[in-house]
Amino acid sequence: MIKVTGLDKKFGKLHVLNGIDIDIKKGEVVVVIGPSGSGKSTFLRCLNLLEHPTGGEIVFEGVSITSKHNDINKQRQKMGMVFQQFNLFPHMTVLQNITLAPRKLKKVSEEEANKIALDLLERVGLADKAKSYPGQLSGGQKQRIAIVRALAMSPDVMLFDEPTSALDPEMVGEVLDVMKKLAADGMTMVVVTHEMGFAREVGTRVLFMDGGKIAEEGIPSEIFANPKNPRTKEFLGKVL
């Protein structure tokens, strides 16, 4: 579904991504782990071109999105993204946050969009918050709304950029639960996270990134039980 070849990203002299190759298939839950500064978030943000790669190619559903002639807005509609800082729109109600993109981009009618939004809110247990403003919600609730907002466009893949890192510890669980449900429903996901429990339990593949490269990848049970790369060993030794 997403095929990345030779992905390269430099910020000035800083070489953040140094030749990433990966092929993500439909239904996979790819969890990206690694020390801070290893390029995990930049890699994820390159996938929907929030960061423009300085080299390499990304092909999404058969279309080269890094090509100059491509209109990325079309593919972004099929790639949901969830941010560390939620980034809900504070001047809109929860319902407006969720329905804005479907109504304006997919020309879904207001009733239809509201119905989809309320169904999704029901699934994350926040149907009673439809009329609230983001400022009235807790961090965990905000992040669940942010996930719903992305889902309302019925994307083919969901990108998560450290979705629980800005949350109070007691709220991490409610967000991970939603993500687990999503994975169980067969959603293709790419997740940058420090939640090793989630990686082990839900991930179908784990990428360990270090110094702008994929240092090691494999199924979670292998990587966690038996890391081959010394850097992976060292990192897991610190976080587990």
């Binding site: 929030l50 790639m79 993204m81 941010f83 729109f89 804005l100 403003y133 466009m153």
Partner: protein, 226 residues
């Protein structure tokens, strides 16, 4: 102090206050339009537009308003632009328009900075979230960034209105019969140099104080919506 001249000359002050308000209202309108254009040019990704806007703003902010007013008043006819003398609310229209144009050209630069700052104060994540949903840059600006920016901008813009009322006093030098001009007129006919100035100072204060109170109320209303 002797304010007995008021009974005879109060009409001058009323006329002056009316013209000051008109001058400020037109200036705000044109200044805001110019400011929006300049601000959009300044935050655009086109380097030429950026340079034009930045140079203009720097030039206006770096030269005295008095000089700018003289340049417009004497400069426009000099380069062949004559404002037609149309009857307009009983005033000397070319003079009045020259004043409005000079003040607007000046105010536009300050308004542009207010608008730019208001837009750039919005967290980067808002644009990213909007774009990640598939919205174009234009849509993200229209639905996400600008509605939030306007809340930052409006109070500062109201303040600019107050500033213009005060600064408009300077266009009396080109003979627009606004408040300051009426003070000078009454000074001349009564040979009282002091009291007419007290009268216009009080009128200016009443005008600006009323407006800033109204703005305070509007601001509180807007906050209550959050």
């Amino acid at each position: 102090m002797n304010f007995s001249f008021l009974s005879e000359y109060y009409v001058y002050f009323i006329e002056g206050a009316k013209n000051t308000i008109l001058l400020a209202a037109f200036t705000v309108l044109l200044g805001v339009m110019l400011g929006i254009i300049l601000a959009l040019m300044k935050i655009s990704r086109n380097p030429i537009l950026k340079v034009i806007s930045t140079s203009y703003i720097e030039f206006i902010r770096g030269t005295p308003l008095l000089v700018q007013i003289y340049i417009v008043f004497f400069g426009l006819p000099y380069i062949g632009i004559h404002i037609p003398d149309v009857p307009f609310l009983g005033q000397d229209f070319p003079r009045f328009m020259a004043g409005v144009i000079a003040l607007s050209l000046n105010s536009g630069a300050y308004v542009a900075e207010i608008i730019r700052a208001g837009i750039q104060a919005i967290d980067k994540g808002q644009m990213e979230a909007a774009r990640s949903l598939g919205m174009s840059h234009y849509m993200a600006m229209r639905y996400i960034i600008l509605p939030q920016a306007i809340r930052n901008i409006l109070p500062a813009l109201g303040n600019e209105f107050v500033v213009i009322i005060k600064e408009s006093s300077i266009v009396s030098v080109i003979g627009i019969s606004e408040l300051m001009f009426s003070a000078d007129t009454v000074k001349g006919v009564t040979f009282q140099p002091f009291e007419p100035l007290i009268v216009v100072a009080v009128i200016y204060f009443v005008l600006t104080f009323t407006i800033s109170r109204l703005l305070g109320v509007a601001e509180r209303r807007m906050r209550a919506g959050d």
